[in-house]
């Protein structure tokens, strides 16, 4: 694959995307806050009281089991603020619509968006709509900017220590699997639903803990990518225990049949937390008390050796979970 032109792999959350952003965006803007690689950034003029984030949403198809573009755009923005310790307050919405999109469908997407925003306590303060000719857009693209008030400061890679525990709030890989099945129009009766949801409640529960170090929602590239980001940013190893990682059986069986690794597939309503060992139990308890955290689990720990992600398998083996490559190709020779 040529790396001289933008490929789909430049958007998959893996190595190519990281390199693209570092080389062409961070370098051009010269803003140290950006280079920290967090989901939202404190607004300097407010002394860090406000956090800012922006996200574009291009999911295909526009509607899928468990959600649609509207819920995804709202929750994706809310979640990016929440994992950075901020309560979402003000949003903007930019819609790029493709000629021919049924207005009825647009109305559904906007209703979903509005409902999710209301649920988070935020409001939409500005918007923009553009229409592009038929064939030049995938029905609708949404871009959302979010401003939130910082409630819990100090969440960053820097606080992560060897021995810290890694927790996830629920089963992984559902959104990626559901969207893939919906996109390819497979005749599957909605066994797998996207987990698309707000993680604000989960984050609020976590903010209360002194031992909380770091939160991130495992979207593109999934759990494995978040773990790799933590490993790379901290120089610490991450050890995950395969039997502890929650998975929906339906997602597992689809991934088995199609040869996908659910740890690399996106979630849109889960959060990964790194906490000091003393707060792992309390966080797990707090999460499990919430309906969206019923299947939360402690899945691993920060290991302190080489900055690699190691999956301990059921049968005592160990497997490296590498940073996502371009298009994963078979390697068994």
């Amino acid at each position: 694959m040529s790396e001289d032109r933008i490929s789909l792999a430049h958007g998959n959350g893996g190595r190519l995307m990281r390199q693209l952003i570092e080389t062409h965006f961070f370098a051009a803007f010269d803003e140290p806050a950006l280079a920290q690689g967090l989901d939202a950034t404190p607004v300097p003029a407010t002394g860090g009281n406000l956090m800012m984030t922006v996200d574009g949403f291009t999911v295909q198809p526009l509607e899928f089991p468990g959600g649609d573009l509207g819920t995804l755009a709202a929750n994706g923005t809310i979640n990016d603020l929440a994992v950075c310790g901020a309560r979402p307050r003000w949003l903007t919405l930019s819609a790029i619509l493709e000629e021919g999109l049924p207005v009825e469908q647009l109305a559904r997407l906007v209703r979903s968006f509005a409902e999710a925003v209301r649920g988070s306590g935020a409001t939409v303060l500005a918007g923009d709509t553009k229409v592009v000719p038929h064939g030049q857009g995938g029905g609708a693209y949404l871009t959302v900017t979010g401003l939130g008030e910082t409630v819990r400061g100090g969440l960053s890679f820097a606080g992560i220590r060897p021995g810290d525990k890694v927790l996830v709030s629920g089963p992984v890989g559902d959104h990626g699997t559901a969207v893939m099945l919906a996109r390819e129009d497979f005749d599957l009766r909605g066994d797998v639903r996207s987990d698309c949801a707000s993680v604000l409640g989960l984050c609020e529960a976590a903010w209360a803990l002194d031992g909380l170090r770091f939160l991130r929602d495992p979207t593109r590239g999934g759990l494995a990518t978040v773990a790799n980001e933590i490993a790379q940013a901290t120089g610490q190893g991450i050890r995950l225990s395969e039997p502890c990682i929650p998975l929906h059986p339906a997602t597992t069986s689809v991934c088995e049949m199609l040869g996908f690794d659910p740890y690399y597939l996106a979630c849109e309503g889960r959060v990964v937390a790194v906490v000091g060992p003393e707060d792992a139990g309390p966080l797990l308890e707090a999460w499990r008390a919430l309906p969206e955290g019923a299947q939360a689990a402690e899945i691993g720990q920060v290991a302190g050796d080489a900055p690699r992600v190691v999956l301990e398998t059921e049968i005592g083996g160990e497997r490296l979970l590498d940073e996502l490559e371009d298009d994963p190709l078979p390697r068994i020779c």
Binding site: E184, D187, G259, F260, G317, E318, E325, L329, P330, I332
Partner: protein, 763 residues
């Protein structure tokens, strides 16, 4: 006319520099004895790899000395006289062995680990000898090397024996130039050397004899014992005890993968016990008795009294003879064959450390037989398969590696080649020399990657060569390529099958125009698709893909390599047929296949063999790599109906074989499993021969090479090479360098060197 008379005793002096394998093989003591024998004075010195010799004396004696230096050298030495020049006599009266000199331009040979020599074996069995039944007996002609060396030059202080100060008796032998233990670096005895200990639950036995006895008793009672050997731990159990074998399989979660069996060394040639169960041909017999002591894939006898679970579905057993004095004692005391499989988690390097063994093998082994000689780096057992009358390396390991290879053309700078992803090895090249590391394992596990990184650091350090370039495979997902890019050194990529072909070419540098069939599982090809059934024309540095197979699309990414049904189904669907076997949820896979989701195109013959194993034998899912093809080969009996496989030329001019008639053959209802399996092999061999004949008409070809993992299939390789030989072709199958991905690193070096040479020519 009269010349002034030369006094017959006029002293002349000569300075020799000797390279090759001269370290750790008793070469200096030999030089000492030879010097005394022919009557010359002087000295011999180790100088980081070379041995420097100064001799002085009468001309005739000097000539005699030089003439016998190479041919009379000890059996394990491979001396090469690098330099020989006149020097001035220093008036020496005696011959001495001087202390080693460390210099900064070493040209060393890192010796491999070898089995007990006959002298030591005799002593091991001699109740009057000091080292009677001592499990760590060794001399300059035998014993551990690679796995204990921590630095070079090879001296005791630079081995893991540094923690065992010699007792007075041992020191005397070590310092006596005529003793066969003179400068035997791992020298040890019961007084000063390593000892055994046995651990079973809370029981701990620290005395060597008692530990050995407890181990033997546990094995006789059907137990599983983790035994520390030379390059790592083995898991051992009674090979005749079906329950013990079943327990080992269940606990190791290894349902089918064949288990190696170690046989006692009995009878005149040592092979009586082997022959009681197996039928080694001459090639296998020779390989079994080699001091390398490899595992040799040997045909099973119909009446073999081994547990059926040792190699289910196969007609060969991986057999070997004891390879250390410890194993020799163990097998003699046990009195029968023992399963001896690598003590590791599947695909990982063998475990070398007692604590790690007890931790990670604790749920598998009932007990542990440890020893306290540390292992500096793991070395798995080497594996050999006799094919077409020669021993072929399947896995380079203990005893074989580091494998010295002469490059057909020199490198202009030191290069490290990072090999593949499965069966990973590394190779270091400088000048005309290359050394291939032992088999490390599959780079999916952190332990394999750690060992890989340690070996990558060790090879340059030990040989005193600092690589300036890295060569790696082009596959974007290989950990070895990622590692290469993280070194910060300039990186060149070599396509997988070009490396396979170039590794083969290194074994026959006289051949200039090749046609190489490089057949394997999948590898990243020059067009970004997955190759694996390629016919390459040319030579290292200039391979052209002239032929291939019709591509197909196994579904499920890497899962296709473990689940043969995925290849079989892809063939059926591509041929417009329904998939005949029952797989739950296959409808989803078929839908994904139609959309091209996670079903990349490949021309891999390895996957065709997978498909055949599935359709002929019902091998839907493999529990180890290559299971389907191995069972298919074992099932093939007799001739079988060979079908005609058509050739067609694709849009790029590549001459491709079409697998469609093979599918028809496999789906016939009127054939037995054996007939289908045999017919498949015969058809593929016939098809390949046909493709070779067609391509040889278009290009000048001096020899046809058969490489890639598929040609470790003996039936296919022998059938095809016979056909090609009959058609007048010279056929070359890899012998020293593995045909599988374990040989890629050497091929990468050869390919890189050839490209350099081509560029130099162009300028």
């Amino acid at each position: 006319m009269s010349a002034p008379p030369v006094p017959v005793d006029a002293r002349r002096a000569r300075r020799l520099s000797v390279g090759g394998r001269v370290q750790g093989v008793g070469f200096r003591p030999f030089v000492y004895r030879l010097a005394r024998l022919v009557g010359v004075a002087g000295w011999v010195q180790n100088a980081s790899g070379h041995v420097l010799i100064h001799v002085e004396g009468p001309q005739a004696a000097l000539d005699d000395f030089a003439a016998r230096l190479v041919p009379d050298a000890p059996p394990l030495a491979r001396p090469e006289i690098v330099d020989c020049e006149d020097a001035s006599p220093a008036g020496l009266t005696d011959f001495a062995i001087a202390a080693s000199a460390a210099d900064d331009a070493p040209c060393v040979s890192l010796p491999p680990d070898l089995f007990v020599c006959d002298d030591c074996l005799r002593e091991l069995a001699d109740p009057n000898a000091r080292r009677y039944r001592y499990p760590f007996i060794n001399c300059t002609q035998c014993g551990p090397r690679y796995t204990i060396i921590t630095g070079l030059p090879y001296d005791r202080a630079a081995t893991t024996m540094v923690g065992f100060p010699l007792c007075d008796d041992c020191r005397a032998a070590f310092e006596d130039p005529v003793d066969r233990r003179f400068h035997a670096q791992p020298l040890a005895c019961p007084v000063c050397g390593p000892s055994l200990s046995y651990v079973e639950g809370e029981t701990r036995i620290g005395a060597t004899e008692a530990a050995l006895a407890a181990c033997v008793a546990r094995l006789k009672a059907g137990g599983i014992v983790a035994v520390k050997g030379v390059g790592g731990y083995h898991l051992m159990c009674d090979a005749g005890n079906a329950e013990a074998v079943a327990a080992l399989r269940a606990r190791k979660n290894r349902p089918h993968k064949p288990l190696a069996v170690m046989f006692p060394m009995t009878g005149a040639d040592g092979l009586d016990a082997v022959r009681a169960h197996l039928a080694p041909d001459a090639t296998a017999a020779t390989a079994l008795c080699d001091p390398v002591r490899p595992i040799v894939l040997t045909l099973k006898r119909a009446d073999a009294a081994l547990a059926p679970g040792i190699a289910p579905g196969l007609d060969e057993i991986g057999a070997f003879l004891p390879y250390s004095p410890l194993h020799h004692l163990l097998l003699t005391d046990f009195g029968g064959p023992l399963v001896a499989t690598s003590g590791n988690i599947s695909g990982e390097p063998v475990i070398t450390d007692a604590a790690e063994a007890e931790g990670r093998l604790g749920s598998v082994a009932d007990a542990f037989l440890h020893h306290d000689r540390p292992i500096a780096r793991p070395a798995d057992d080497s594996v050999i398969r006799p094919i077409a009358g020669r021993a072929r390396t399947i896995r380079p390991g203990r005893g074989l590696a580091p494998l010295e290879v002469e490059l057909p053309m020199p490198l202009n700078a030191p290069v490290l080649a990072t090999g593949g992803h499965m069966k990973a090895t590394l190779a270091l090249g400088w000048g005309n020399r290359a050394v291939l590391s032992p088999h490390i394992g599959d780079l999916d596990s952190p332990r394999a990657l750690s060992v890989y990184e340690a070996v990558a650091a060790d090879l340059p350090r030990l040989y005193g060569v600092r690589p300036e370039w890295i060569v790696c495979d082009a596959h974007p997902g290989y950990a070895s390529r990622r590692w290469a890019r993280e070194t910060g050194l300039p990186v060149s990529e070599v396509f997988h099958h070009f490396a396979h072909a170039s590794a083969l070419a290194a074994e026959r540098p006289d051949v200039r125009r090749w046609l190489v069939l490089a057949w394997d599982g999948v590898g990243y090809g020059a067009d970004g698709t997955l190759w694996g059934g390629e016919a390459l024309v040319g030579a290292p540095g200039g391979w052209r893909r002239a032929g291939s197979w019709r591509p197909f699309h196994p579904i499920g990414g890497d899962k296709a390599g473990r689940e043969p049904w995925r290849s079989a189904a892809a063939l059926c669907w591509a041929a417009g047929r329904a998939y005949p076997r029952d797989i739950e949820g296959i409808g989803l896979a078929e839908a994904a296949w139609r959309k091209g989701l996670n079903a990349p195109a490949t021309s891999a013959v390895g996957r065709l063999f997978d498909a055949a194993a599935c359709l002929a034998l019902g091998r839907d899912v493999a529990s180890f790599e290559g299971q389907g093809p191995m069972e298919l080969e074992a099932a093939a009996a007799g001739e079988g109906p060979a079908v005609e496989v058509p050739l067609f030329r694709d849009g790029d001019g590549v001459l491709r074989l079409d697998w469609a008639p093979l599918l028809d053959l496999l789906l016939r209802n009127d054939l037995s499993v054996a007939e289908k399996a045999a017919g498949f092999h015969a058809s593929v061999a016939k098809a390949a021969a046909r493709q070779v004949r067609a391509l040889a008409q278009e290009a000048e070809v001096q020899a046809v090479g058969l490489t890639g993992g598929v040609f470790q299939n003996r039936k296919l390789a022998e059938m095809l090479s016979a056909r090609l030989a009959q058609a007048g072709f010279t056929v070359v199958i890899p012998a020293r360098i593995p045909a599988n991905d374990g040989g890629l690193a050497i091929g990468q070096l050869v390919e890189y060197a050839a490209r350099q040479a081509n560029e130099a020519d162009d300028e």
